[in-house]
Symmetry: C5
Subunit: 336 residues, 5 copies
């Protein structure tokens, strides 16, 4: 009923877009009809399992692959068959702000045949607006080329999303950096950990992605034209760059944590200085006044006329001396 | 006597299951009887050494291999012979909860011949329920294929157990994370260490497993059909993924430890603040009251009528000033 | 209007230099005119997009490359075409002093054809004074060789700039080292972080640069003469050396941070010693004088004639004993 | 004179053992006598340099090799000659207990010819009891095979010793772990360092050993029969496993050190809590009683009949309030 | 004028040594004179630039190489020409004691032709005494072999110097270890940093040296005889060993630093214990005596006959109880 699937049919001259239910396409989808056009069938939901299985059967897709399609959180993999290639990857989208401790991940599967590409998304998140635009407005070479180039553009869009995730984490690092300098609490460190875990998670996604690109290089199938292989090689390089970037970001997060520890340590130092200066000045003075609080009958100083004032003098001298010593050691200035 | 060994005999059409003692199978096991069926003989115990040796002799298994079978904690290895392949790996099963400092490990050995596979487990732990199910209910391709595919399914089950161990450790990390935030004690760090050691241990198991898969790729023997090699390659990829995962988990444990240190440090800071604020306020005041506790005969302030009240005023002023200073420095609020 | 582009035309015998606007060169640039000369067209600005596109069209440059030229912060890449090679790298210039937290980066693109090289700089920063000098004063082999050698000299100049950035960071490390020893504040650590980030950033630039040199090695195009390939190989080695150097610098920064922590820790120790020595001496004494400040009616010591002096003696003895103990423990000397 | 050398002569049927001085063997040793037997000549000392040189000359051993034989602490190396192979490795034996800061190392050299193997030990430590047993009791295949298999068994014995060293370190780690929990002193950390250095040292021995096995794989000499090469390959795998194990042990030692720091930190926290709780309770109280120790003539409270008892009440209230606050913060319970 | 250059001319039968100025050799050096002898010309200074250039021109050395010769601190490189090979490396000599923060480095360049080798040292430091000895006393094979073997001996001498530097650092680590245990000051950490930087520096020298050896392996030139290549391969292994060694030394330095931190922490703990024990005992007692120093008119205890003595009893009890508690917690014993 609902329009959870879209079919683009395009060639150099024209394109058509059809939106309909899974059942509809299970019945009507027939890429052999026009071998000069490229068909892109995209599913935004995988709930209608029967319709999808029906479609797969019609296209002679291996039964085990069909099982794999519906398994929840599986690993990135590529399976070559004689007349189609199966693909399964994990996409990641950025989430804004510091209060997220995980990534927005989704599994996307692909089946590419001679002149068609079917993509299965678990949720109706839109990963491919730029690809659609390119088809509709005949931008770039997409309309001149086959489904392998379409695949390239789609993978490119997904990898661009990875980059955005990394950038978002970069933004968060800047934020954390500022928070650490302004108000260092152990909570900051927790958030540093969250960002690190996201990076670890992303790394686990990008790493097999990179290998996949390598596998595509070596694909013996004619589905991917030699001429286009260099596009996939470029994506591989981007993945390498991303892994480097992830590593760099991880080191920056370590830097934030170190800064946190340093500032905490410095605050501790400052607190201790206040305690030490106060104690070192007043504890001796308290002793002095304690002496003359004793009740001995025979204490000559007590009956001296200026004894009280002399003691004040002595105490002021002691204080001045101590303050001078502490000032010289630099304990009296705050050292932010 | 006891039924510590099981024999599955199956082909596309039918399967039979026999449970009996080692002695029984040492006498009766004869895979050459029906070359179109696959035989899977599984031992749940290796105590009846003579029976097993008798069986091996019957199958012309190398004498040194037979020795190796009974050695306690040996390394992962693969030995190719002209008409069988010998295998020895270490399995690991998850243990629940935080109070385990090691893995539940077991050595499992395999001998695969033309149409049979013999597996030796040291203990009656059940690693292969899914494999049995697949044979009994004719699920997947297992009944269409030979002992190499059976081996694949068994190794897959073992590697799946590794993944479960990693996941269990993941669960423990979440727990430790919460404990650190709620009640950080040095004991937490010990448990972090335990989990790390489990990861180190698992890594030492998974690493040679991965190489083993590579060796299987290169096996010159016809026992493993070319068609099935890609299954083993996939297992290798899973092992790589596991090693990545183990590395990530190790970094998460480091994160937990860092959080622990940070929270400890912050608590220390808080304790010191309380000490410093209390001392810095009351030590000077104690000095002031000490002054007027002195017994000098000539202390003009003492005889003044409102001296006592003036001193109170002065002390309240000092206190207010100090409180104000500490408040401005943010030492009066708790900073969790 | 403004002279944002320069054209060098040179061969073994002579050279000419023309400075003019983009529009002028879009019209007049024609390298096929004299196949025995090398043309180097350098743009100092990329604002006049139309003129540049016009020029590219004239030289039959791929449309997608033209798009790529104007994209802001893109990655290092190399694209081989049948009669030209396209190049895009990121340059970095050093900034003096400790107050910079990032690098001065710029994207530079190259197009090399049979006998011409076009370079596009985003800003009018001068990266290539030595190259100009070599052309003008016929220094070295540049006038004997083609555009590939020119390219080598230009890349060499850019890589030399990277080295200068690393050296500048080295200078900063020396400075930070001295600051840490003289006056350790947490701000130093922030600057250590800044330098580390610069290194991370530079590494991300140098890494693909190194790969680019490798790609040039493997270029199937005749644009780069076999004879000159070893120059590029040498640049690759320099890049490797730079990466090593960056790693070493990073470890030195870690060293500075560790020194900071150690000195902070030692200062803390010193502060605590002062507090402890003062408290441990005067708190017991204050107790002693407190005892004789009590107002009990029956305190025999109070009425003794020399009680006061005996108490002084006792207190001096206690003090001497404590001072001796602390002196033996080495707590009285400052331990810088 | 003394029996510092032993000669085993064995074949499938029989074996003989002769113990005698170096001089004796320098004269009598003649492996060409019986080409069907394997000769193993083992020296337990290298002091009688002339005798050894004489023997070497007789066997036409290269002069430079002879020099190398007597150099003290040299690196692992392998030298191939047309009719013999020279070998030099470093063995390591475990020492029991925590009070050792280095390994018991020894250099062992080998010369293997067509049907003989000469081994040179610097000290009379017995590395090869199992090998002797195998020869004497005809255990395993050793009597069926040539000097290459003998070499394999000897290297295996040496590598097994390495494993024992690693295990001994593992035992020490367990011990250190317990000591840290029971009584953490900085001395523990020194011992952790000692163990780490042993691991570093062992790693430097095992690493070239592994490469040596690889070189043996590639030996072009017929001295090592193709059939036996897989034994050496297996030893190589064991070396790889050892290196992994060493790495894991190093990380465990880091864990022990971290635990030490954590426990130290926690102890510090506890000490500070005691100090803070005591001070925060008694310092304010001391101030209160100080107030009423002042000698002002006009202090209304002093003459009030129940003033003293009211003050006691006030002080008890303050104490109760503070104790309650500290109890709520969890500062009153010990948190081991 | 001064004898800054030396010429060795040698063959199997004889050798001659000539010491003279650069100008002299620029004129007289002619290796083609006697093709059966090997010529080694060594410069101890490069100040007489013209003479060296003159010599190079005579030997038809490439102009760019000549430039490179005089560049100050350049990288390790190798340049192959049709009839000579150019070489440039960095040597390092050990400096004794802890007060050095850098290495004694020097650049040495080599040119080897058919039957000559020219070496250029910047300073008159003597790197090659053993090589001279070997030539003069006809030790080893040097007189039987050509300039490639001479080069091997020279490189060996340089690499041996690297080993000595590493050993010297090892000695320093032992020293630092002892200093840390005896008297830990933050200065120790600075010296630890110095040693680490030396290691980093040395690593940057040894790393390209190792690659150079690899390049020599692959040299297509006939200047280096196949027969001698294995010598260079051995040097490469030594370089690998050195890099391992450097890594190990770096980890040992980390160990020293950790020990320093641990001992500092323990000292802090001890100081805090003294402070806490003193305060926790005397602050409550001071409060007690403060109570009876109050001047309330109605304080029944004051007029009691034994009040003073009872209070002393109470205070002794309190002290005993606290001492007992601290003794049980182990705070009274020093825990070095």
């Amino acid at each position: 009923m609902s329009e959870v699937a879209q079919l683009y049919k395009y060639n150099f001259d024209a394109y058509s877009l059809e939106k309909n239910s899974e059942d509809y396409f299970a019945d009507s989808f027939n890429p052999t009809e026009d071998m000069n056009s490229t068909y892109w069938l995209n599913f935004h939901s995988m709930k209608n399992k029967e319709a999808i299985i029906k479609l797969c059967d019609k296209l002679c897709i291996d039964k085990i692959l069909q099982e794999d399609l519906f398994e929840p959180e599986k690993r990135t993999r590529l399976e070559e068959y004689s007349d189609y290639v199966y693909f399964s990857i994990v996409s990641a989208l950025p989430k804004e702000g510091l209060n997220n401790f995980d990534l927005k991940k989704e599994r996307i599967s692909f089946i590419i045949g001679d002149n068609y590409l079917i993509s299965f998304q678990e949720k109706p998140s839109d990963h491919f607006p730029t690809v659609r635009e390119r088809i509709e407005y005949k931008r770039g070479k997409i309309r001149y080329k086959g489904p392998d180039f379409l695949l390239f553009r789609m993978l490119e869009a997904i990898i661009d999303n990875y980059s955005e995730v990394v950038e978002e984490i970069g933004v968060n690092i800047e934020l954390l950096d500022k928070i650490v300098l302004r108000d260092p609490k152990s909570e900051v460190l927790r958030k540093v950990e969250w960002e690190k875990r996201k990076l670890l998670d992303l790394r686990k996604i990008v790493f097999p992605m990179k290998d996949l690109m390598g596998q595509l290089d070596r694909v013996e199938n004619e589905l991917i034209i030699e001429d286009n292989i260099h596009y996939f090689r470029e994506l591989k390089d981007t993945c390498y760059g991303l892994i480097e970037e992830i590593e760099a970001k991880k080191q920056m997060l370590d830097g934030v944590a170190n800064l946190y520890y340093a500032i905490q340590g410095q605050r501790m130092n400052e607190i201790m200085k206040v305690l030490t200066v106060t104690s070192a000045i007043f504890i001796p003075l308290t002793f002095v006044v304690g002496v003359y609080g004793m009740n001995f009958e025979n204490m000559p100083e007590l009956s001296s006329k200026y004894g009280y004032f002399i003691i004040w003098g002595v105490m002021i001298l002691i204080t001045a001396a101590l303050v001078f010593i502490f000032w010289k050691r630099g304990w009296l200035k705050r050292n932010t």
